[in-house]
C-alpha cells in the first residue's frame, strides 16, 4: 500500500511541486495502479533473463569523426534566459558532482 507521504516523496524526487489537492487526487490513483501492476510478480520467472533490448543488436558504434554542430544561437534559441552566450539558470542550492 502506497501512502500519500510516499507519493509526496516521489514528487520531490521527480521535481514536481504538486499542490495538496493534486496529492490528494493522485495518491489513491497511484495506489490502485501500483497494486495492479504488481501482478507481474505472480509470474514464475526463475531463471528467466530480463529483456532490456528487443532487437538483439550489439556493438553499434560511430567513428571518432567530427560532424557539424549547432551554432551558439541555435543552441540557445529556446533558452528562457541567456547571458554571456551561456544558459542563465537560477541559483543552484545543492552542490553536486
Amino acid at each position: 500500500m502506497i501512502t500519500r507521504d510516499d507519493i509526496a516523496h516521489l514528487a520531490r524526487l521527480s521535481r514536481l511541486a504538486l499542490s495538496d489537492e493534486e496529492l490528494d487526487h493522485l495518491a489513491p490513483q497511484l495506489d490502485q495502479i501500483i497494486s495492479s501492476v504488481a501482478q507481474v510478480q505472480e509470474v514464475a520467472a526463475e531463471g528467466i533473463p530480463a529483456t532490456s533490448h528487443a532487437t538483439g543488436l550489439t556493438n553499434v558504434f560511430r567513428d571518432d569523426e567530427p560532424r557539424p554542430c549547432l551554432t551558439p544561437s541555435e543552441a540557445l534559441s529556446g533558452a528562457p534566459a541567456v547571458e554571456l552566450q551561456r544558459f542563465k539558470v537560477p541559483r543552484i542550492l545543492v552542490e553536486e558532482g
Partner: protein
C-alpha cells in the same frame, strides 16, 4: 471549398501522387484543397495543433517547379502529410501535446520527417496528441482533445489521435504517428482507417521525442492499405543517428500491399485477446473478418499466448520507468516553459508541476517508484522478465503460424470524458496492442466494418514477426479488398460525424 477541391481530398495518396507526377493537377492545388478542408472541418475535429500554411504551399510550389524543370520527383511528391507533434520539425513549432513545450521551435529535423521531405511530400502541419504520447484518447493533450470524425462526441483514440482524425476527416491522405503501446493501431481502429506499427528499429527514432525508448516506433496512417504501405516504405530504413535502428533492407511492404493474398497462409487467433471487457460488436466484426480470411484460402487456428495477460502490467511498469527518465530534461533551464521563482531546484519543480498534465505526472511518479532501489527487482526487473516470456510466446506462435490476429482494441470509440479520470479504465484500450510493442514485432490495424450496436468502426489487428512487415500488408490488402467489394464503397464514405 470548390467541388474539385473536395474531390481532391477524397482521392487516395497513390492517386494524388500519380496525378501530380502526370501533371493532371498541380501540387499547389492539392495542398490548397487540403488546407481548405482543414479550414472547413478542423474547428470541430481539432486534429491540428499547428497548420504550416506558408511552408506547405512553398513546398508544393517547389514540387511543381521541380516537375516543370523535368527533374525526377520523390515517391510522395506533392502528397500532403500530417505529422504528429511528437516529431521535431526544424523551424516549425513542436509541443508534443504539452504545455511544457509551448512555443518551442526545434533547431533540427527528425530523420523520419527529413525522409518525407526528401520524398517531396508536403507537410501540412502538426497534429494533436496525448501529452508526450501517453494516453489512448488525446484527452491528455495540454491543448484540448481531438474529436472522432465518425461521431464528434467520441474520442479519436490516442496517443496519435490527431493524426488518425486528420486522415479520417479527409484533411490529409496520410499522416505520421508513433506507437508505443498501441498509439497508432488503436486510433486507426476507432477512426476506421489503416495504421501500422513497424518492426521496432525499422523506422528511426532520431528526432522523435522519447516516451518509452525501448518501445517507441514511428509509423504510417492512411485511408487504405496501399497508401499506408507507401508511407511506411518512405520513412523506414537504417539510421546511423539511432543506435537501436536495424540495419536491414525495408521489407517489401508496397509490393505486398499490391498483392493481397492469404491463400496458403496459416493465421493464428490469439485465445487470450478476447473475453471480458471486449465489446460484443467488436467481437462479432472480428469473427466475421476471420471467416473472410478463411474464405480467402487461409488456414485459421487458435493459438494460446499465455503470458499476454501480463503484458498490460509489464507495460505500465516499463513505459513509465523509461518516461520518468526521458521527461527529466524538461526543467525550464534550457528550453520550453520556465515558471516560478527561487532556486534552480524550486523553479524546476514549479515548471514541471505547471507544464505537465495529470497523466504525465502519474507516470513520472510511477516510473520513479518502479526504479527506486528496493523496488527495482520486484517491479521493473520483473516486468523485463515478463517481456522475455511474451517474446517467447510470440516465437512459439510464429513457429506455427505466419501471422496472428486479434481485435485491435476491445471497444469502439468511447465518449470524450468517459474514462478521462479513470486511468485504469483508459489503460485497457491497449490490451491487444501492447504485446507487440514489448516484443518489438510488426503489427497493424485495418478496418473491418462498423459495430452493429453503435455504427462505429472496428479494426482487425494483424501481427507478424520482426522484419516481416510485408506479411501485414499482404493480409490487410486481402481483407480490405474483400470488405470493400462486399460493401461496394470504402468504409469512410459512411462516416456521418461531419455530415459527409
Amino acid at each position: 471549398m470548390t467541388g474539385m477541391g473536395r474531390e481532391l481530398t477524397r482521392k487516395t495518396a497513390t492517386e494524388l501522387a500519380a496525378a501530380i507526377a502526370a501533371g493532371d493537377v498541380s501540387a499547389v492545388e492539392v495542398t490548397q484543397a487540403h488546407l481548405d478542408q482543414i479550414a472547413a472541418t478542423d474547428d470541430r475535429v481539432r486534429a491540428f495543433l499547428h497548420v504550416a500554411t506558408n511552408e506547405a504551399l512553398a513546398q508544393a510550389r517547389a514540387v511543381d517547379e521541380k516537375r516543370a524543370r523535368g527533374e525526377s520527383l520523390g515517391a510522395l511528391a506533392g502528397v500532403p502529410v500530417a505529422v504528429k507533434d511528437l516529431f521535431a520539425t526544424a523551424g516549425v513549432p513542436t509541443t508534443c501535446g504539452s504545455k511544457i513545450l509551448q512555443g518551442w521551435v526545434p533547431p533540427y529535423e527528425s530523420t523520419v520527417t527529413a525522409r518525407l521531405r526528401a520524398a517531396d511530400a508536403v507537410v501540412l502541419g502538426k497534429t494533436n496528441m496525448d501529452e508526450f504520447a501517453m494516453g489512448s484518447s488525446t484527452e491528455n493533450s495540454g491543448y484540448g482533445p481531438s474529436h472522432n470524425p465518425w461521431d464528434l462526441a467520441k474520442v479519436p483514440g490516442g496517443s496519435s489521435g490527431g493524426s488518425a482524425a486528420a486522415v479520417a476527416a479527409f484533411e490529409a491522405p496520410l499522416s505520421l504517428g508513433t506507437d508505443t503501446g498501441g498509439s497508432i493501431r488503436q486510433p486507426a481502429a476507432v477512426c476506421g482507417i489503416v495504421g501500422t506499427k513497424p518492426t521496432y528499429g525499422g523506422s528511426s527514432r532520431y528526432g522523435v521525442v522519447a516516451f518509452a525508448s525501448s518501445l517507441d516506433t514511428p509509423g504510417p496512417l492512411g485511408r487504405n492499405v496501399l497508401d499506408t504501405a507507401l508511407l511506411h516504405q518512405v520513412i523506414s530504413g537504417h539510421d546511423p543517428m539511432d543506435a537501436t535502428s536495424i540495419d536491414a533492407p525495408v521489407p517489401p511492404v508496397v509490393e505486398a500491399a499490391r498483392h493481397g493474398d492469404v491463400s496458403g497462409m496459416t493465421i493464428g487467433v490469439v485465445t487470450e485477446l478476447a473475453g471480458d471487457g471486449y465489446q460484443p460488436g467488436v467481437m462479432s466484426r472480428f469473427a466475421e473478418a476471420v471467416e473472410v480470411l478463411q474464405g480467402l484460402g487461409a488456414k485459421v487456428v487458435e493459438v494460446s499466448c499465455p503470458h499476454f495477460k501480463y503484458g498490460l502490467p509489464a507495460y505500465y511498469l516499463i513505459a513509465p520507468s523509461e518516461v520518468s527518465s526521458n521527461l527529466a530534461r524538461f526543467d525550464g533551464m534550457r528550453y520550453g516553459l520556465r515558471a516560478g521563482t527561487g532556486s534552480a531546484e524550486e523553479v524546476m519543480a514549479t515548471t514541471r508541476a505547471a507544464g505537465f498534465g495529470a497523466e504525465a505526472k502519474r507516470r513520472i511518479m510511477l516510473g520513479t517508484y518502479a526504479l527506486s532501489s528496493g523496488y527495482y527487482d520486484a517491479y521493473y526487473g520483473k516486468a523485463q522478465q515478463v517481456r522475455t516470456l511474451i517474446i517467447r510466446d510470440f516465437e512459439a506462435a510464429f513457429s506455427q503460424v505466419d501471422v496472428l490476429v486479434s481485435p485491435a482494441t476491445p471497444t469502439t470509440a468511447f465518449d470524450i470524458g468517459e474514462r478521462a479520470d479513470d486511468p485504469m479504465a483508459m489503460y485497457l484500450a491497449d490490451l491487444c496492442t501492447i504485446p507487440s510493442n514489448l516484443a518489438g514485432n510488426a503489427a497493424l490495424s485495418v478496418p473491418v466494418g462498423l459495430a452493429p450496436e453503435n455504427g462505429l468502426p472496428v479494426g482487425l489487428q494483424v501481427m507478424a514477426p520482426p522484419l516481416a512487415d510485408d506479411r501485414l500488408y499482404r493480409v490487410a490488402a486481402a481483407v480490405e479488398a474483400a470488405f470493400d467489394s462486399r460493401r461496394g464503397h470504402p468504409l469512410l464514405a459512411e462516416a456521418k460525424g461531419l455530415g459527409a
